[in-house]
Each structure stands twice: as structure tokens, then as C-alpha cells.
Amino acid sequence: MNNVARKPNANEESAFGRFIENIKAAPRRFAETMFRSGKPHSDRTRSTFVFGNVFLHLHPVRTHRWSLRWSTTWGLGIAAASCFFVLLATGVLLMFYYKPYPDVAYLSIKDIHFVVPTGRFMRNIHRWSGNMMVVIVLLHMARVFYTAAYRAPREFNWVMGMGLLALTLGLSFTGYLLPWDQLAYWAITIGANIAQSPREVTDALGMTQWFDVGGLQKLILLGSEDVGEEALIRFYLFHVMILPLAMVLLMAVHFWRIRKDGGLARPIDADTRLGPPPGDVYPVFTEAPEKTYSLAAIVKGKTPIVGRGPEQTIPSMPHLLFGEAAVFMLTIVLSVILAILLDAPLKEVANPAVPENPAKAPWYFLGLQELVSHSAFMGGIGIPMIVLLGLGLIPYLDRETEGTGAWFGGPGGGMLVVRSAIFGLAAVLAVEAFAIRFGWIRQWWPNTPQLVITFLNPGTVLTFLYAAYSVWCLRKYNSTRAGALGLFTCFICGFVVLTVVGSYFRGPNWDFYWSPSQWPGY
């Protein structure tokens, strides 16, 4: 064989020689064919690297410098998506051992915690990523709101984001039952009865026997009247199948719309604010473009950067992709550190005969539980619906353009946000302090009809105060955006304060205590 190989042109002549050469070259050629256009060394190959790759072509080929500043997004959207991918991976691993059947479920979680190799670690990461995802999604929403990035043409993507928030909370809630411990059992009992709470209104109107939407909701959710095996398998199905699929679908639409809506929102004067691009940025339009706009030429409406050169953009590979990878790594690092430091809790096995006292929902629902402790229907369904509707309508009511893409942009700006935060905090603290100190209507007049309490309780009073303040802002600054800034800031303040009160200052019988050390029995 060696003799043959030494002769010139021998390889072309002998089929066997060519075969051997091809075998030697196979690994290199495999690597080359994996990426359709070679390694991303030049601007041209960097472009084809992104749009020629099924996983990367979601990204633009070039990204505006404004989008790449950390202060534009703080990477929150990518961080939320990263949490979801971590949850997907660890969740699938946990499914190897988890058995969704009462009592057996508890034992399988115990197995995962104490026996399964890396089981405790994976469960901890799953739990912490889940918690982080809730926080990050809320922060991401706040970022989009405060930079006024929900405005046209991005209205619909804001609504998609609301859907993703609801799915995130739904996934957390359904996952909460799966360990089948006391914490899970009573939190879900309360949650299922919140679903049933429209009965509070239908009962008061005397129409429950014909129109029992509350009972139907609970029946569909639990598959029974109590939390039992039917409820567990349903929550499991929702947690591992229905909600993740819906999440992936909405995420796809959400990401795709970012591209189609022209990338991230930025101020009109972003280019002057950024200054000239650094010297190493390649001015694309100095070379004759070889492509026409093809179909983009006849499509109506704005398409990304037509009519001017992409001077302020830089190649997505490596600038955007490396940034995304960095956020992904940071997210994983944070959840791993938390998972090492703090174990996911597991109380004693669920006991339908003995309620936890206090029985608390997951922390992000404790604000709601605080509202629910005044009225089940208004706190659990009425006010959340008002909040969701109000948030969803923001981009359709605020049709202004001033301040788009800038932090706290719009009339009033940062000062209005500070003032709204002070009002929001003062209002929620005053209402809570009053209700804790003096009680509410039923303590003063025990025979008050239920409908009065349903519609006049600390939660509804607070909602009214916030709405009134928002209208006041709108009139004072003569701007819908100012009203929205006031309302959203108040909403954040209310959410935080109610959550903190529910988490740290409520003890047995949902009584107020300054610290858990004062709880009776301690």
C-alpha cells in the first residue's frame, strides 16, 4: 500500500487509494459539513454562521449596538429562557424516579433526596431555577415596561409575555403539589378552593344551583372534590406535559416576534447617543450588496433597517451569541450555588386530617393569599383578573412615542416613578396597618352581608387607591404613559409589600406577628 501511495497521482488512479484518503479526511469533512459555511472568521462567514444554522437563525445576522448594552436589558429575557432550559433538563432527570401517586410520590421524593445519586442536587437546582424564573420573569416584565418597549409595533409581544408569566406561575403552582407533603397538600387545597371562590358571589346572589362556575373549575382542576390521587395525576400531567408544551410554543412566538418587530426597542436618537462605532466595526455597505430585498420589497410596513445602512450594527456572532452564552452560564452558576447552599424543603407526608398552621402557598402567591384572607373571590380571582387585564391593555392605551427605549422614558420620567413608589408603598402599608390594627367591617358589624365584604375589603380599597392615583397622574402630566408609570410602579410596590407581609409577618391563624419567634408554641 505504501508503495502505491508514493507514486504521483496514484490516489486518483486507484479507487482503494481514494477510499483510504477519504477515510482519513472523514472527521475533518464531517466537522466542515456540520456548519454549512465553514468557521465564522470573516464578517461574511459570521453572517452565514448565524442564518445558515437551524438553532441560531432565530437571531439577526447583525445586532444593533444599543441592544447589546447591558443596561438595555440586563440580559433578563435570556436569563428567564435559560432558567426554563435548566428546569427542562433537571425536570426530565427527576422524572426517572418520581411516581405520581399519593404517599408513593412522597417516598419517591425522599428517595430522590436521600438515595438517588445526585438526586438531591438535581431537585435543588430544579427548585431554585423555578424560583429564579418567577423572579426573573417579573424583572423582565418590569424592564420592558420601564423602557416603554411594549409600544407599537411590539404590543402583541407584550401580551405574549403576559401569557408566559401566567404559564410560569402555573408551572410553579402545579409543581408545588408533586412532593405530596403537608406544605404541598394544604397549599393546593387553598389554591383549588380559590378556583371555586366564584361561589362566594353566586352564593350571595342565590344562583349557585344553576350556575356554579366555581365548582366546575375546582372539579376540572382536581378531578374530585378533594385533593387526592386524581388531583395529583392531573397536576403531574399539567406540570410535565401540557404547560411546558404551551410554554415552548409561546416562547417560540415571543422570540420570533422580537425579530419581526424590528429587534429590541431603542430611542429614536440611539445612534447619536451611542456615538460613532468603534474602529473595528466593518461598514457593510461600502461593498456592493449582492442581494436584492426580494420579497421584502413588496411587503407593507416597516422591515428591519431598510433605507439606511446598518452602520450601528455589529455581527451577532460573536457579540450577541457570546453575551447570551454568558447570561446562560451566569444563570446556571447562580442556581447551582443556591442548590449547594440551600436544600429544597420536604415536610412530613400529606395528612388530609390535620391542616398546616399557618398553611402558606409558594412565596410568590403569598401576596395573593394576603388578599384572599380578606375575600376569597376578590383576592384570588377578581383583583388578579383586574391586574392582568390592566397590564395587558397598557400597550393598547399608551399610544405615545416619547421616551420609547429609554429607562423611565416618558412624561414625568424617573421622578414620577420615585413619587409613585412612595405613594404605592404608603398606600399599601396604610391599608394593611389599618386592617391589622382595627380589623375590618365584619368585626364591627358582624351581620354585614357577604357581598358588601366581597366588594369592600382592604384588597379592593387598595386597588381603587392605585387606580385613582393612576388617573390623577394621567391628568396631571396629560399623558397615558404617566398614568401607566404610576399604576405599574404602585402594582410593583403592592406586590412586594403584600408578599413580604404574607411571608414574614403572618403566623398561626393568619394572625399578625412581628417575627416567627413570637408564634405561640415556640
Partner: protein, 165 residues
């Protein structure tokens, strides 16, 4: 495409022609019937998750009160969320499921306390304070003879209804 898109008289381009009203009715009818079919199909499929037979245990149970049960003292049978009282006027049963959000209330000397959101009820089950929208229901009790009672958690009776055993 080398030919130019000629604007028509109305100023519209060939690429964006005016809608044909003649086809609107048929087109809309097709869309709406497809949507209606999907909706009814979905509603029909949704009958599946709404259980026709509930897996929960029977709401009726038989119980014998302990002889030592004093007046004003509650007896809660194991595994049941019912407090049974025996007074001179007769026997009665009150549900211990809080009408607020379904936690189990605890019978105290003065009535019932809910551990979850602080609802308090009087001895007769009526709401004293807290978020509970209505009082604890009284449940149907039937004497079976020989000191045995049949309690039905699914049937409520008017507050104050007692049964002589």
C-alpha cells in the same frame, strides 16, 4: 417579476387588490363553520376531564357516639370532617370544612377557629369574624337505632335542626 405593478383606478396596486365582496359571504361562512366545528369538538373533548363519578369515599357514614360525650363537647369521627354534638335537645352535626378556602376548622370552647386565614365561627357555625363568606353548614343526621347515627356530609339542613336519638 419584471412587469411593473400598475396601480388600478382606485390607487391600489396589483399586489394588493380590492377584496371581492361576492366571495365574502361564502368565505366567512366557511371560516365560521370551521370555527364552530372546532369549538364544539373542543367542548365535546372537554367532557372527558370532567369526572362523572367522583373517586371520593361515600359522603354517608355510620357512627356511634361515645357514652362519655358531654354536652357542649364535640366528637369528630376519624377521617371525617364533621363535629357531632349531643345536647339535651338532641344530636346535631356541623361540617368542619371552612367555607372560605377549605381548611379544617378546629372546635374550641367558644366555637370554631380556622387555622388558615383566621375565620372564627360561633357554636352554631355562624360567622363571627374573618373572610369566610358563610357559616359552617349543619349536616343531616338520622338515628339508626341502637345508639347508631347515619351522618350525610352531602346533605345540609337548616341550622338548629337536632335529632332525638
Amino acid at each position: 417579476m419584471t412587469t411593473e405593478a400598475k396601480p388600478t383606478q382606485t390607487g391600489r396596486s396589483r399586489l394588493d387588490p380590492e377584496a371581492m365582496p361576492r366571495r365574502d359571504f361564502l368565505g366567512l361562512a366557511a371560516w365560521w363553520s370551521a370555527a364552530a366545528a372546532l369549538l364544539f369538538g373542543f367542548l365535546g373533548a372537554m367532557r372527558l376531564p370532567k369526572a362523572a363519578v367522583l373517586p371520593s369515599p361515600s359522603k354517608k357514614f355510620r357512627v356511634a357516639l361515645p357514652a362519655s360525650l358531654a354536652s357542649g363537647q364535640s366528637y369528630v369521627p376519624a377521617g371525617r370532617s364533621v363535629a357531632i354534638y349531643k345536647e339535651e335537645s338532641g344530636v346535631y352535626a356541623i361540617s368542619t370544612i371552612c367555607t372560605h378556602l377549605g381548611c379544617l376548622v378546629k372546635a374550641t370552647d367558644n366555637g370554631f377557629d380556622c387555622p388558615c386565614h383566621g375565620s372564627k365561627f360561633r357554636k352554631d357555625g355562624s360567622v363571627l369574624r374573618g373572610p369566610a363568606p358563610k357559616g359552617l353548614p349543619w349536616l343531616e343526621v338520622k338515628p339508626l337505632g341502637g345508639g347508631n347515627l347515619l351522618v350525610d356530609e352531602g346533605k345540609t339542613v337548616a341550622a338548629g335542626t337536632t335529632v332525638i336519638v
